[in-house]
Amino acid sequence: MEKLRVEHLSKIFPSAAGDVLAVKDVSFSVEEGEFVVIVGTSGCGKTSLLNMIGGLEPATEGRITVAGKEVTGPGEDRGMVFQGYSLFPWLTVQKNVEFGLKMRGIPPQVRAETAGKFIELVGLKGFENSLPDQLSGGMKQRTAIARTLANSPEILLMDEPFGALDAQTRIVMQELLASVVQETGSTVLFITHDIDEAILLGTRIIVMSRRPGTIRKIVPVSLSCARDHTALTSPEFLAIKKEIMDLLWKEQTL
């Protein structure tokens, strides 16, 4: 089943110094259970693209449908995870994870149970009553992931979620996300500028050009080895990495 369809999407930011064409005629779709990664250099329009899908920014042109329904604004069918965590600092981990359920009027007991399940899933059992301020960056992002998943969205939209973490924590989080997604069978659209991260996590990789962001190529990823840090040095992995780097690099020398 098709979870997301993006058709001829464009975004222009009007500005005094002239309009900025951030995204130009982008079309693709994501099937149920897929993990699609968008890679592109900084400033190529990745965030603009994801914010349009999330309904946070209106599209200048084009059409977005999620599970058959046209996107007109933000909604709980698209769960977003941001680079800056965006947790509510006055709520405990438990209450943060319950937030979406509370907004949707789910009774307290069901809320607590569901949240508990996802807190355990992301490995935060025992931290239910901690405040975000008392958590490390990795733990904050675990909370944000649990908060989004607890709302059972049709698709998970993630904008460089591990971009602010140190290298070690990032690898731990990538492996955690892969296992959580496998466990829940979630559909994911993930943005990054880190090619290793893209190949480790993605079943398909959309390579974007520099601004204005257009799709350069869609690269399928099929690794026969396990998708963990050991894969980083396997020949298959390196071959895909070279292909993507060539796509991104070729353009830079133009």
Binding site: G54, F82, P89, M103, A144
Partner: protein, 260 residues
């Protein structure tokens, strides 16, 4: 770590105590040493004599209460109206376009100059006194609330919206709690300003109140009573400040200030 923090806090309290002691010592030296005439600066014993006299005949409590009531009612009216107005201004360009010019204009008008109009419109009862305090604080407070609410992290609002919160829920569950620490600070500052308008509020047809006794003493050059009034206003201010800080600690324990 905890012990060090507790120690720093204790040291800060000692420092505050010392600064008050220095002030009082200077006052004693100046007056008892005969460096200034009592009509300019009365001695501590003269002022505390007046205070104990006021306590004995009950006038002190009555005056304190009359003023506190005026300040609280006037200021509460400000806060109750400024809170929703400021919040909507922060979130709606149209609302801002309507309100901002008026507020910016009135904000610069000296409240003293508006007193004749308040008498003309409202008479000389308590309503006029509440209104003076209201005029002095409302227009500043709206803009402060608007500023505080505007500075709420936009990503947090986006997160709430993508988690399924509707417009009203975004206000109630995110914007309000997120701006509460800043709002409490705004409240603390404007209550202080409300007290500074007290004398203006009690300028006309008052028969009690700290501002009133200060104004009355001016005519008789009763500097000791003026000093008493000032000291009492200062002490009530300190107490209010303390209570609001305590409220902050209770309502927003998650909020960490620089230097805490």
């Amino acid at each position: 770590m905890k012990a060090i923090a507790a120690n720093t806090r204790k040291n800060a309290k000692i420092l505050s105590g010392i600064s008050f002691l220095i002030l009082i010592t200077l006052w004693c030296i100046l007056t008892y040493g005969g460096f200034v005439t009592p009509i300019f600066v009365p001695s501590p014993s003269a002022v505390f004599g007046k205070i104990s006299e006021g306590i004995r005949d009950g006038s002190l409590l009555r005056n304190c209460w009359a003023s506190t009531r005026r300040v609280m009612v006037g200021w509460l009216l400000s806060a109750v109206i400024a809170l929703p107005c400021g919040m909507f201004m922060a979130r709606s360009k149209r609302f801002t376009a309507v309100l901002q010019p008026v507020i910016e204009f009135v904000r610069y008008l000296p409240v003293v100059a508006l007193v004749p109009l308040t008498i003309l419109y409202l008479g000389i009862g308590e309503t006029q006194k509440y209104t003076v305090i209201w005029l002095g604080t409302f227009f500043q407070l709206v803009l402060m609330v608007c500023d505080t609410v505007s500075s709420v992290d936009k990503n947090m609002l986006n997160a709430a919206r993508t988690l399924g919160a509707n417009k009203w829920q975004v206000y109630k569950e995110v914007i309000f709690p997120a701006s509460l620490p800043g709002l409490l600070d705004d409240f603390r500052l404007t209550i202080g300003w409300a007290w500074t308008y007290l004398v203006v509020a009690e300028m006309v047809a008052a028969s009690e109140g700290l501002g009133y006794i200060i104004l009355k003493s001016q005519r008789f050059l009763a500097t000791d009573v003026i000093f008493m009034g000032l000291i009492l206003i200062g002490l009530i201010g300190l107490l209010t400040d303390f209570l609001l800080r305590l409220l902050s600690k209770i309502l927003v324990p998650w909020y960490k200030r620089l230097g805490d």
